[in-house]
């Protein structure tokens, strides 16, 4: 049985459907990310799990029990908010102790658990600081300690790292991952940052306009995007219009001057999607001209004008000579590196 289960959950505000037909089973100890652009319904879904919003339809179950009947104060979930939502009038220790107080944990045990929680997030010695006198990263850690100290059945993270600068965010990602692995709390992270989702999660739920586009491991969703939206949202990609030529024997998939044996069971116009780092410069393939060439340290980024429209290519900076701007090139890739969508069944 799934630890946390969302069963065809939907949320409407008036006539507007914000989340629709959301079903997901989260295993115990799993780290799940809800990934999507702002307004895709990911935060609304999180708020329904937390109990701050009620689903219009569907059920949310924790270990088989219906959660929607339980008041948010008694759900026992740990939440870290985007703004951290620390209590500004309390010290770090008082913030962390608050949830234990609400649970009437004896004073001596409380002190010990607060100390341990702050130590776990690397804030030993900061017990008596007020949030206003702490840096963004420190506040973030207090918020995490406060959510974890109550030993929540599920940890909900609402864009917890989005207010940190890039370097700190990366550090916190690693730390968050380690802490979650150590204590094994089932965790749901809401984010619009695909790198964050990929580096932290066991599985990613990609959302768009209130619907689930794909559920899968980070590798799955990146390598085999289920829709154009997913392929566009998870990193850069090239979408080329192609056709399947059934007159040739055997049938071939053709995009400009590039062609490969056609996959079985498809015909007509299709879209092929290739990640830029999977494209190489070869002797045969799609005809293109380099428009701009940008050096980015460990790799080169090429923007090309190809027979099938604009294309991006990323090449490792491996010391080899690279084509110059204005140069004509041929773009080639392996058939197993692309995904093909659309087309009629034949």
């Amino acid at each position: 049985m799934a630890h946390l289960e969302l069963d065809r959950v939907a949320k409407q505000f008036g006539a507007q459907t914000v989340v629709d037909d959301f079903s997901l089973a989260v295993g115990k100890g799993e780290f799940i990310s809800f990934l999507g652009p702002s307004g895709c319904g990911k935060t609304t879904t999180l708020q329904m799990i937390a109990g701050f919003l009620d689903p219009t339809r569907g059920a949310i179950r924790l270990e088989g029990k219906d959660l929607t009947a339980i008041h948010p104060a008694r759900r026992g979930l740990g939440i870290v908010f985007q703004s951290y939502a620390l209590f500004p009038h309390m010290t770090a220790a008082e913030n962390v102790a608050f949830g234990l107080e609400m649970r009437s944990v004896p004073r001596s045990e409380r002190a010990e658990r607060v100390r341990a929680a702050l130590a776990m997030v690397g804030l030993a010695g900061y017990e008596q600081r007020h949030p206003r006198r702490m840096s963004g990263g420190q506040q973030q850690r207090v918020a995490l300690a406060r959510a974890l100290v109550i030993k929540p059945s599920v940890l909900l993270l609402d864009e917890p790292l989005s207010n940190l600068d890039a370097k700190l965010r990366e550090e916190m990602q690693i730390e968050l991952r380690q802490i979650q692995r150590t204590i094994g709390t089932t965790t749901i992270l809401v984010t619009h940052d695909q790198n964050e989702a990929m580096s932290l999660s066991d599985r990613i739920v990609v959302m768009s306009q209130g619907r689930i586009e794909q559920i899968g491991t980070p590798q799955d969703t990146y390598e085999r995007p289920a829709s154009a939206f997913v392929s566009q949202f998870l990193g850069k990609t090239n979408d080329f219009a192609a056709t399947i030529d059934r007159t040739a024997m055997p049938a071939r998939l053709v995009a400009g001057s590039w062609s490969a044996p056609a996959p079985a069971g498809l015909s007509g116009p299709v879209t092929v999607s290739i990640r830029p780092e999977r494209i190489g410069f070869g002797d045969a393939g799609l005809g293109a001209k380099i428009v701009t060439r940008i050096f980015q340290g460990n790799h080169w980024l090429f923007q090309c004008a190809s027979e099938c429209g604009p294309a991006i290519v990323i090449r490792q900076n491996d010391g080899q000579a690279q084509p110059a701007e204005g140069e004509g090139v041929r773009l080639a890739w392996r058939a197993e590196d692309m995904s093909v969508r659309g087309g009629a069944a034949s």
């Binding site: 109990g51 701050f52 919003l53 009620d54 059920a59 929607t68 009947a69 339980i70 948010p72």
Partner: protein, 291 residues
Amino acid sequence: MSSVAEERSIRAPWALTAPALMLFVGVLLIPLAMTVMLSFHDWGQYKGIEPVFILKNWQEIATDPYYAEMFWRTFRIAILTTLLTALLGAPEAYILNRMSGRWKSFFLLVILGPLLISVVARTLGWALLFGGNNGLANKLLMSLGVIRSPIPFMFTETGMVVALAHVMMPFMVLSVWAALQRLDPQIENAAMSLGAGPVTIIRRIIMPQIMPGVLSGAIIVFSLSASAFATPAIIGGRRLKVAATLAYDEFLNTLNWPLGAAVATLLLAALVLIVVGSNAMIERRYAEVFR
């Protein structure tokens, strides 16, 4: 399906506002309604208030020119006060806004502070300054050569307007000040870079943008001046009556409550009409500035 949150969000606001709502219905709306009803009751020197429904008080106000003159005086004083505060308060707010931080907050305190000082004390100050023909105000104006012969301030409309304008000035400065805060601080530099001189900048750039502030300030000043009591009572004395002081007399000296209630009802109705009407007009005219 149970819905804890949604049920709360329907019931909670009413549960939270219920005490205040009951307070307001019980001791504001009901007393106001009773006052309107009172204005239709009869009154006699010896019989007191008779709870009947007659139009006697309203007829008296409508026909006796004394009341027409009194209301006209009330509104004339209010209009002049409003003009005076706008003419002096708006430039002052502009000057204030251009001062550097420390001075700005100091003078803001000096100018807005009187708002919270007892009206009686402030009007007393004017009574002392006016104090007959050789009051301080006249002495100063004459020694500066502004006037030749003393102006009678005490017990005149002139004095009332000056003292009222002082009492109401903070409202106007505050209102214009708020409008100035919404101004882009670079806008004057932009106008200047396009070749506008200081006068053009004020007339073409600043004025149109702070006009809503001036007008909403004017509404506040007008409605408060037209219903002012302490200043007209102290400066105007017993003969120069305005609506508020007349109603006070009817209630606490003549004891003709129904007539006093009619005067008060008329004042309230006139003010509500003027304020709501001009607010709607300003908001329509300056809809884009308010956004």
